[in-house]
Structure formats: structure tokens, C-alpha cells
């Protein structure tokens, strides 16, 4: 009848702590394969970037309807969390807006079967638009320096000479500019600030970061894309940046590339990836870790583009896992896969070349 309360309490405390630590929402019910209609069956789980979540939802739905006995799960914990889970072996692939560090490459080499390490596959390409709310103005031309000066607070009125010079014939109001950045950590902000850091030179005295810096601009932050867009819509003469698919109804900027002004478009977004070099520290030629060239002068490319990758191993020991993963990734990279994501999430389909290249890489993984 005597409870050993002390011992029990300590043990329970430890257990609860472990449970709390381990309690991330990763498990979806594993479906038992009851009928065999396609060859594929089983459960594939990924985790990572929330930027590509909408695309991932479309891919999962389409892939599962093609393969009724497959269940694909994706936990949008964020790029960092996805890489973490991938490196610890919890998931066979991660979604990430950022690239692996040298250190992470090494851990990936240990985590993956064989000696090949991990690859980046650019699956989700999405242009980021500079959006503004000026009644009667639908489009403005801007170079990176002007954008940097606006967001840094050096240009505070819409009728500033720097803007007017690039937009002859546009009636610019003498109104204070309100800058609306994201107030949460986001890959969109990182892309935007990376663009400014690379393309605007000294006009942007901040580093690329997931957090928008505390600039001198008249500023109101929004938590998440929706809140940010709402803020821009509700306050006239404000300006922000967001995934281009969310820019409907707002004015957008055409960015100066070389000597021309390029508005965002799926093609131009896909082209910047094709036009960019692969990182120096990439893991061999199959690792498509792009260093997006924000300073390109190729007027067919839109440099303010977010690329979200699937990070996968070059080899998998479990044949079922390998087959599920490679079939899924081939679908994602295919024209069909890219089109369902474009329809659902407004992303830019990969160029045919890049699509073929990824398919080839995945085929290689499948044969390892």
C-alpha cells in the first residue's frame, strides 16, 4: 500500500521531460497497404521550410492520388528544423530555403548511406515581388539602390527624385512612405535582404537575414504574409515585399536588371536559377546548391527569387524508402508536378533543362 513517491516522482519527471522534448507533431497514421494497385506503398515523411508548404500540399495530394497506397507527410517546421530532422535521420528528406553549411554537409555525409553525402534539389521557385499601395499606380520601375534606400529610410517620400527619375510620366504623390516588412523570421525576408545586400551595395548597410533589420524607415511590421499584406492593403502609400503569388491587387515594382526593368514572371524567376552558378562548396556536380546571382545583367531573369530545395541523400539503404522518395521527387521535378504547384501555390515551374537535370540526378539516386 505504500507509494514510493520520491522515486516515482523523479522517474516521472524525467519521462515527462523526454516526452515533451520528443513531442513534435510528425506522425501521421501509417496506412496499411490493403489493395495493390500501383507498385508503390508505404509512408514517406518530410519536414522543413514553410515557404514551400503550399506547393508541397499540392505535390502530396497529386502523388497520393496517383499512388493510393502511399502516404506522404510534410511537417512545415521551418528550414532549420527540417535540416535538423534530416541530419538526425528522422526524415528521409528536408525542405529548405537555405543551403547546408560545411559542418552540416559533414554530418549529412555520416547520416547518408554510402559516401555520396547529401544533395540540394531546387524544387520550388517563387519570385518575390516588391509591392506597394499607391492609389492609381500599378507599376513602378526601381533599381536595387532605390529599393534599398526606401527600405532603409533614406528615401521617405514617394515623389523623391530617385524614384521619379526612373518613372517618367507617373504621377508620384508627395506622401510619406510606410515600409511594411515581415516581423517574424522568414525565408522571404532573407531572400529580399540578400538581394539588397548583393545588388544595392552600400545603400543597404545590413546583412542578409531572416529578420528584417531595425532601419530608420517609417515602418510597421506584419506577422506572417497574410498580416503583412493586410497591412499594406489597409494603409495607403505603404510598400513591402512578399511572395509574388500574393501580390494581387497591389502595385508591383519592375526591378532594374542590366539596363532594363524586369517585372516578376514565372519564366524570369526560373531563368535566374538557370543563370546562377552553383556554390563553391557544393557536394559534387549532382548537388544543385545555387548561389543565386542577384547582380545578374541578364534581362530575362528576375533576381529577387526565392528558391526552396529538397535536401536528399545520394544513397538510401532501405529499398522501400529509396523507391518512395525517388518516385516522389521525380514527380515533383516533372512538368506535371511543377504545374500543380504553380496552380496551387503560384510558384514558377522549373525550366525544362533543370527539370531534366533533376530527374537524372534522382534516377541516379534510385539506382544506387
Amino acid at each position: 500500500m505504500t507509494f514510493k513517491i520520491r522515486v516515482g516522482a523523479t522517474a516521472t519527471a524525467a519521462t515527462v521531460a523526454v516526452l515533451l522534448a520528443a513531442c513534435t507533431p510528425t506522425n501521421e497514421a501509417a496506412l496499411e497497404a490493403s489493395q495493390v494497385e500501383s507498385d508503390l506503398a508505404g509512408n514517406l515523411q518530410g519536414a522543413g521550410s514553410s515557404a514551400q508548404e503550399a506547393g508541397m500540399d499540392a505535390w502530396r495530394a497529386a502523388f497520393q492520388s496517383n499512388n493510393p497506397d502511399v502516404n506522404v507527410g510534410y511537417d512545415p517546421v521551418g528550414s532549420g528544423g527540417g535540416i535538423e530532422q534530416f541530419l538526425s535521420g528522422a526524415v528521409p528528406f528536408a525542405g529548405s530555403d537555405g543551403l547546408l553549411s560545411d559542418e552540416e554537409y559533414e554530418i549529412a555525409a555520416d547520416r547518408c548511406a554510402g559516401d555520396g553525402g547529401a544533395y540540394h534539389l531546387p524544387m520550388y521557385i517563387s519570385p518575390v515581388a516588391v509591392i506597394f499601395n499607391i492609389p492609381g499606380v500599378e507599376s513602378l520601375n526601381m533599381d536595387a539602390i532605390t529599393i534599398a534606400e526606401i527600405f532603409n529610410g533614406d528615401i521617405s517620400s514617394w515623389d523623391d527624385e530617385a524614384i521619379a527619375a526612373q518613372n517618367e510620366g507617373v504621377d508620384l504623390p508627395a506622401q510619406t512612405i510606410t515600409v511594411v516588412p515581415r516581423s517574424d523570421s522568414s525565408g522571404t525576408t532573407e531572400n529580399f535582404t540578400d538581394y539588397l545586400e548583393q545588388a544595392a551595395g552600400d545603400a543597404w548597410p545590413h546583412e542578409a537575414s531572416k529578420e528584417f533589420p531595425a532601419t530608420d524607415a517609417q515602418r510597421v511590421g506584419g506577422d506572417g504574409t497574410s498580416a503583412q499584406i493586410d497591412q499594406i492593403r489597409s494603409s495607403e502609400y505603404s510598400v513591402g515585399y512578399a511572395d509574388a503569388s500574393r501580390s494581387g491587387g497591389l502595385g508591383t515594382a519592375a526591378l532594374k536588371v542590366g539596363d532594363e526593368y524586369v517585372p516578376f514572371s514565372p519564366e524570369a524567376a526560373a531563368n535566374i536559377v538557370a543563370a546562377s552558378p552553383v556554390m563553391d562548396n557544393a557536394n559534387g556536380e549532382n548537388d544543385l546548391a545555387y548561389a543565386i546571382d542577384r547582380t545578374t545583367t541578364d534581362a530575362s531573369a528576375y533576381p529577387l527569387t526565392l528558391v526552396s530545395y529538397h535536401i536528399v541523400c545520394s544513397e538510401y539503404t532501405d529499398p522501400n524508402e529509396r523507391e518512395l522518395l525517388t518516385e516522389f521527387e521525380k514527380f515533383v521535378a516533372s512538368a506535371d508536378g511543377q504545374n500543380v504547384a504553380a496552380a496551387a501555390a503560384g510558384s514558377a515551374p522549373l525550366t525544362a533543362e533543370l527539370s531534366d537535370r533533376i530527374t537524372a540526378i534522382v534516377d541516379e539516386i534510385a539506382s544506387n
Binding site: 507509494f3 513517491i5 515527462v16
Partner: protein, 333 residues
């Protein structure tokens, strides 16, 4: 008083004073309630342990390493982990204080109205309505705050800034124009609405417990109702009001969603509650950074959570202590 030998014979111990039939149920209940008590302690210990264990890597890492690994920690910009915690605790306490300053007098007014002024029927209805406020999810407050309250308050802020702007608290942004109401003041106001029910409910209960003797003492010497309240109700309820306020503060400190949706956050120690990008709360900051945080980032965020945990614990203990002192100098003699 007539015990027959046969009745004692049925007792196993052979006496009248052995185990009684309720002993088992009593034992079980004792075990259950002890278990419940232990469980809550274990849970608290588990949470504290979790926070400590998870936050540990961030605490022992050098500020430079942390800055390298965690995107939102920038020691070179004056935003090391400890500095951020400082900013956030300041912001959290600031907004909670705004909430308290607004909510406490209103709550006491409502509670007093319900306990001493309103007709019985109205008092009951009002009591239910106030309790209903407590049941509204904070997301709803946040949405309402952004969509309705913030635009509505803007002109008032402009007025405040125009006429009281010389007080740093109400200073306008550089342009002199209140271009957004998404500031600490708005968050404080919404928090005030959210903590109103708990402060009202507790003070109402305390007010109702004022001994009739003391109220009559005041009334009988010709006190008006308000004078009676000042003479007998407030002195009696003082500690209860303090306790209620502390409970409200506890709630305000931990609120996330409403603040997050309303405020345009920043990290400073500035007093400017009518300017955006100045303040944020611990809970709000964690919610902003968590989705994109890596392992070390999560550790750092948990460290901030630990700081909030400690503050909330202190506030609640303080509230408990103040409330418990009530029994010592209560007027119920």
C-alpha cells in the same frame, strides 16, 4: 448501551474499535488526492527541467558562436541573447503595466457596481457577461484589435501625441504623425480587456465578503454609499484587490497571440508607447522566431521562455503571498 456478546464475536479483532467500513474509501480518496497534488508538482518540475535542459546550450555558448548560429541573435548590433531577453522583459512588463493601469480601475469599478450598486438581476447578468469575456479566445481579441480597435484609436493617439507629446511616453514618431496604431499602447489596451474579467471576478468576490457590520457602521453614521465604500469596503478588500491585480498581471505577462497580432514589434528600451517597432513581449518574440529557428535558435528561444517562466512564477507567488496575508488583517473580528 446494551451490547450482546454475539455482536462482539463477529469482529475479527475481538473488540468494538477495529476497522470501520469507511476506512477503505477514505484511504483510496487520500491516495487519489495526494496523487493529484504530486502530479502537479511533477508537471511543474518537468516543465522547469525541460526549459533548463533545452536552454542550456544557449546559455553556455559564447555570444559570438550564438550570433553565428542563430539568425536573430546579433551581438554586434547590441542584440546578444541576454540583451534580447532584457528588451523583451522590458516590453512584456511595459505592456502588462499599461494593461494593469487601464484594467484595474475599470475592473474595480465594475466589481463595485456589481457588488454594491446594481440591482440584483442586473448584477447577475453583468457578472455572467464579464465572465464571458474571459472565454473569448485571444486570437479573436487580436483580430478585433487589428481590424477595429487600432484604426479607431489612431485619432486619439494623434491627439495624445499633439498635446501630451512632451511627455516621452506619448512622444510621436519622428514625422509627428501617428501613422499606425500598432503600438505598445494598443497591445496594452487589448491586454487590459483580456485581464478585466479575472480582476473583476476576484475583486467582486472580495467586495461581497465585506462584513455587513462594517458597512452598516459607516452607513449608520451618515456615510453615502461611496463614503461607505471608501471607509469599509476598500480597506477590507485592499489585499484582495492587490491579489486580483497580480493575477491579472500574470495573465497579461504570458499572453501571446493578441499582442503578436497587434504590435509592430521591435527591440528597444524606449518609453515611446505610441511608436511602432519599439517593443515586443517574450511570448510574442518566441512565436515570431520559432518556426524558422534551428536547434540553437530553439535553445535561445527556450532560454527566453525560461526568463518569462521565472517572472510569471515570481508574480504569481507574490500574488499568493499578498492574498494569503488577507486573513491576518482582515476585518472579520
Amino acid at each position: 448501551m446494551t451490547t450482546t456478546p454475539s455482536s462482539t464475536g463477529s469482529q475479527p479483532a475481538g473488540n468494538d474499535y477495529g476497522t470501520h467500513p469507511g476506512a477503505r474509501a477514505n484511504g483510496i480518496f487520500k491516495g487519489m488526492s495526494t496523487g493529484a497534488g504530486v502530479l502537479i508538482l511533477v508537471t511543474l518540475a518537468a516543465v522547469a527541467t525541460f526549459l533548463l535542459v533545452e536552454a542550456w546550450p544557449a546559455f553556455i555558448a559564447s555570444p559570438e558562436d550564438l550570433g553565428q548560429e542563430v539568425s536573430f541573435i546579433k551581438p554586434e548590433d547590441g542584440q546578444s541573447l541576454m540583451e534580447i531577453i532584457g528588451y523583451l522583459i522590458y516590453g512584456t512588463v511595459l505592456m502588462s503595466l499599461i494593461a494593469l493601469v487601464i484594467a484595474t480601475p475599470i475592473s474595480i469599478g465594475i466589481a463595485l457596481f456589481i457588488s454594491h450598486y446594481a440591482p440584483r438581476r442586473l448584477a447577475q447578468t453583468l457578472g455572467y457577461l464579464i465572465d464571458l469575456l474571459a472565454a473569448v479566445p485571444s486570437v479573436v481579441y487580436g483580430l478585433w484589435g487589428v481590424a477595429v480597435l487600432v484604426p479607431f484609436l489612431n485619432p486619439f493617439y494623434q491627439f495624445l501625441a499633439d498635446y501630451l507629446g512632451f511627455i516621452p511616453l506619448f512622444a510621436a514618431p519622428e514625422s509627428g504623425e501617428i501613422f499606425t496604431g500598432r503600438v505598445a499602447m494598443s497591445a496594452g489596451i487589448v491586454l487590459a480587456i483580456m485581464i478585466l474579467p479575472i480582476i473583476t471576478a476576484v475583486t467582486r468576490e472580495v467586495f461581497l465578503q465585506t462584513p455587513v457590520l462594517h458597512e452598516e457602521a459607516a452607513l449608520a453614521m451618515g456615510a453615502t454609499r461611496w463614503e461607505m465604500v471608501k471607509m469599509s469596503v476598500f480597506p477590507f478588500a485592499r489585499s484582495g484587490m492587490v491579489g486580483a491585480t497580480m493575477l491579472g498581471l500574470g495573465r497579461a505577462l504570458g499572453e501571446t497571440m493578441a499582442v503578436l497580432m497587434i504590435i509592430s514589434p521591435g527591440l528597444t528600451l524606449s518609453p515611446y508607447i505610441l511608436q511602432p517597432n519599439q517593443h515586443n513581449t517574450v511570448a510574442g518574440y518566441i512565436a515570431l522566431q520559432f518556426p524558422e529557428a534551428n536547434a540553437m535558435g530553439v535553445s535561445s528561444l527556450v532560454a527566453m521562455g525560461l526568463a518569462l517562466f521565472v517572472i510569471t512564477l515570481v508574480v504569481n507567488m507574490l500574488a499568493r503571498w499578498v492574498v494569503s496575508r488577507r486573513s491576518e488583517f482582515s476585518g472579520a473580528n
